[in-house]
């Protein structure tokens, strides 16, 4: 099989930095060219911040790895300029089904509401996402953005200083040194940055093993997420089937605790398990196999002076709920506008502490959900299993129990209630768009609302007059408010003014507001005042 992961996308090339007599200083250095590091580099690069992105490898990871990308991730990708490509490549899905034994007990629709640009989820192999991100980064480079992606560059040492970080890097041509005003560590769950700085990563380890396989097959199974408790082909355990592009399906089989990992990985042991699941008549070939256990843990803080952690380097969850890569991309989304403003002198350094506050809140929410799903799927004690089985038994008959069936609560953006950046809600409006929430999408003209938001702050005026403020985009809608806009932004209110952050979270809202009031809210949202 030939896959993208076998092609070097960013092969090592010598940088002028390696011939410098003094370590050159860069405003931002990012470690790790996975989805999070690439997204951060694109976000900063397209806003004019020079970035150096280092990775010890030269190509995307092997195997599909993260495959479920949420509506919120696609909206972020739209702002980064690659949303259409991801949606075109990916497999759209909204429907999930849950089976107990061979009986379907539960169906859920993740996007029961129309009027959104993006679907609830697409499935896409992580290597395809990484490839799309690298292509987007190359396009930015061609357009003149200073985004320097250096493959074959391995970080070997970090020396922290109050106003910068000194980095030692190893390459095929030998070592060199650079300095960074700000370092973003996106180097994954096994983060070398974290280890070099001696920072802890604590949480819960789960003992159960899962076999994860990508298989190519032709089948009539619809594009849905199917999850089994106690299926006939894997008795007493669980299973997941999910479609990816290229005729590839993801299969996830719970194997239990004490297993012989090496033996279970051998094709002669994997094939019969998959045949038992798919039936003897389905021809398939094995693309990739891995066995994993997982952990739910996070760093106590994500900002350590001039070093900021994002993605799996900062927090790790179980895979149930697709909360890993999606939350990592939301970390980058949250961080980059803040860092850009701090670098430009438009915001105090303390604005970056709100990254820590908000993304720790998100990580805790993700860890809570994924820990609960894990407990439901792999009960740790006899009583836990008794209650789990009771829910499944009742779920076949009663709707109330189906609410408790937890095969993973799928990734939703965190609502940053309590964030120091937000102004208390001054509108009697819909709960879904209160300060802290992501601005809901809605049809607008020939397109969608979120397409009209840029990289800065936006004032969204619905039937309300709005003050003109320098540096703030204004989106005014005086008449012809669609039912979706009314339902999502006005509710019972006659008119409203929304202040939306660069990462599309609502910072403040009022029935109407004068320039001084809006300035005060922006001042707060940029960390100038509290």
């Amino acid at each position: 099989m030939t896959r993208i992961a076998q092609t070097p996308l960013y092969p090592y090339a010598r940088s002028p930095d390696q011939d410098a007599t003094q370590p050159p200083r860069h405003p931002v250095v990012i470690i790790g060219a996975g989805p999070v590091g690439l997204a951060a580099a694109i976000d900063l690069g397209q806003q004019g911040v020079p970035v150096v992105l280092l990775d010890d490898n030269d190509r995307p990871s092997d195997g599909s790895r993260a495959i479920c990308f949420s509506k919120r991730t696609l909206e972020i990708a739209d702002r980064l300029g690659l949303g259409d490509r991801l949606v075109d490549m990916g497999v759209r899905w909204n429907i999930g089904k849950v089976f107990v034994g061979d009986r379907q007990i539960y169906t859920f629709d993740l996007l029961p509401e129309a009027g959104h640009s993006r679907p609830a989820f697409i499935n896409l192999q992580q290597y395809h996402l990484e490839h799309a991100l690298v292509d987007r980064l190359r396009a930015l480079q061609d357009a003149g953005a200073q985004v320097d992606l250096r493959g074959g560059n391995r970080l070997t040492r970090i020396d922290g200083h109050p106003d910068h970080t000194a980095l030692s890097i190893d390459t095929p041509d030998g070592p060199y040194r650079i300095e960074a005003d700000w370092l973003i560590a996106c180097d994954g769950a096994g983060s070398a940055c974290r280890d070099m700085l001696g920072l802890g990563f604590t949480g819960q380890t789960f003992e159960d093993n899962f076999l994860i396989a990508d298989v190519t097959m032709r089948t009539e199974i619809p594009t849905e997420r199917w999850f089994w408790f106690d299926p006939p082909f894997n008795p007493g355990q669980s299973a997941l089937l999910h479609k990816q592009p290229d005729g590839i399906w993801r299969i996830d089989l719970h194997l239990g605790r004490d297993i012989d990992r090496e033996a279970e990985m051998r094709p002669e042991n994997v094939m019969p398990r998959i045949t038992a699941m798919l039936g003897p008549d389905v021809a398939f070939s094995l693309e990739w196999v891995s066995i994993y256990r997982f952990q739910c843990r996070r760093m106590s803080r994500f900002r350590h002076g001039r070093v900021i952690f994002a993605g799996d380097a900062a927090h790790q969850v179980s895979p149930f709920g697709a909360r890993g890569a999606n939350s990592g991309l939301q970390d980058a989304d949250n961080l980059c506008w803040k860092l850009r403003m701090v670098l430009a002198g438009d915001a105090p350094e303390t604005l970056l502490d709100s990254y820590d506050t908000e993304r720790v809140q998100a990580a805790d929410e993700n860890i809570l959900h994924s820990t609960r799903a894990t407990e439901f799927i792999t009960p740790k004690s006899a009583i836990s299993r008794t209650f789990r089985d009771a829910v499944l038994d009742l779920g076949a008959r009663h709707a109330f129990a189906r609410q408790m069936v937890n095969s993973g609560r799928l990734s939703q953006p965190c609502i940053h209630d309590g964030s120091p950046l937000h102004t208390p809600d001054a509108l009697t409006g819909p709960a879904r768009s209160h300060p802290g929430a992501v601005c809901p999408d809605a049809p607008l003209g020939d397109g969608y609302l979120l397409d009209h938001l840029g990289h800065g702050f936006t004032l969204l005026a619905l039937g309300s007059d709005a003050p003109r403020l320098e540096g703030v985009d204004l989106l005014e809608m005086s008449d012809a408010l669609t039912p979706e806009l009314r339902a999502r932004f006005l509710g019972d209110a006659a008119h409203a003014l929304y202040l939306i952050r660069p990462d599309q979270h609502v910072a403040a809202r009022w029935p109407r507001a004068d320039a001084a009031t809006v300035r005060q809210a922006i001042s707060r949202a940029t960390g100038h005042t509290s």
Binding site: T386, A390, L394, A401
Partner: protein, 64 residues
């Protein structure tokens, strides 16, 4: 919302007690545990209010 009632509230206490025991007649320990779990879930749903259920959990634990 009303608080958890710990004052007498059953219309036929002896009958209800007997009903609970009768439901377990002939069950193994595992079957009994499963029945109890289903019963708790059904009653919890009937109550609905998480605060009241937490009060019930607290009252149940405080005996031990």
């Amino acid at each position: 919302m009303t608080d958890l009632t710990l004052a007498p509230n059953l219309d036929a206490p002896d009958d209800t007690y007997a009903d609970l025991l009768a439901a377990h007649d002939g069950l193994t320990e595992a079957q009994s545990a499963a029945l109890n779990a289903r019963l708790i879930l059904i009653l919890a749903n009937h109550i609905g209010d998480r605060r009241v259920i937490l009060q019930a959990i607290k009252a149940a634990k405080s005996v031990a």
